[in-house]
Symmetry: C2
Subunit: 209 residues, 2 copies
Amino acid sequence: MTVEQPSTREQILLQASILFARQGYHATSTRQIASAVGIRQPSLFYHFPTKTDIMRALLVEAIDGPVAAVERQLAADGSPAIRLHRYIVQDLITLCESVYNLAGTTTAAVLADPEFAAAASRYRCLFAARTRLIQEGIDAGEFFPVNAEFASRAIEWAIEGLHTEIVSGSPGTLEADVNQVADFCVRALLIDGSKIDEIRAAGPAATAG
Amino acid sequence: MTVEQPSTREQILLQASILFARQGYHATSTRQIASAVGIRQPSLFYHFPTKTDIMRALLVEAIDGPVAAVERQLAADGSPAIRLHRYIVQDLITLCESVYNLAGTTTAAVLADPEFAAAASRYRCLFAARTRLIQEGIDAGEFFPVNAEFASRAIEWAIEGLHTEIVSGSPGTLEADVNQVADFCVRALLIDGSKIDEIRAAGPAATAG
DNA sequence: GTCTATACCTCGATAGAC
DNA sequence: GTCTATCGAGGTATAGAC
């Protein structure tokens, strides 16, 4: 029974993700990445043709999990509030459980760059799906009749905000904070805020059921 | 009656703020800034000793207004919900009405840099003051007994999120969106969410009264 | 698959003429 | 107060030995 050693390619992605999260993509040099991996700078280019491609690989990691999470809840049973709460929790858990530090990858300054246009497009799909989930709650009379697109943006800000904090801060508080974000966002929409406890309680078990 | 021409110094701050907002601080070169101003790159250094000092000047603009806004509401009369709502609106209006584009200036990746330590310290004061305002609402029984620091963070994410969108997007929707953010944040805390309309209505007039 | 060496570029900043 | 010219550092990426 052998333990898989992380390949150099995976090490590059890991160390690059840590540096990108801390300093930003443009402020991080390929020399820094190589140094963190323990190889020389030109050796990076055996594994990735350009620095851009390192970021592109991380963007796929950062977007695919959340997209899967929201689509799962769009297709699931239960009240919209329960499914929205569950989606927010799963989105954050997906991001935080990644082996990479994906904070800041989907920042506007990054996605605005033409060389990341493909990721930006996929990120807009995530936004649209989340908006649909919110609209279901409004149509069902469970949520205030707010602008669903606006609410979708606000939830994105909260998810990105906590994600950035968790991966760059003290560990251990993940589950508590994740639930607090989901509570905050769902309560901001709920007509009957007192139902938040049962909505949260309905979350974790429901997917398996 | 003469119309003041913007000085070169102000032009540099303006164009730098626009480029920093769009591309980030590190991705923006002094040549780009100079080109946008209409001067040559070395001429910048007659007005600012370093590129860092340009950003420092913008950070003062980005933080002082919000600090003043929250301290005004900490000292004001009225229910905590009304004052928190009013603060959020004023914070955003202050940021958006600045002649500079201040989006992204207070990003973690910027404030983490030691050369911006002074601004980071002042930013923490803003956070602490906002947390106090929220705690007043909890103590008064108007808000859910959430973690006040967590709520303060969530409100920060929403303010930064909308600020970034407004200054880099289509104009005209400012007031509507600002109220939506304040509504979203206050409703997430309010035990009785149905009161949001009267809380919002109490906002604009109260400071002058 | 990693190395040394290096090409070539752009960066922030300086010197000194005007 | 702005210019031209340029410096030295550090950026991404390539060539070719091992």
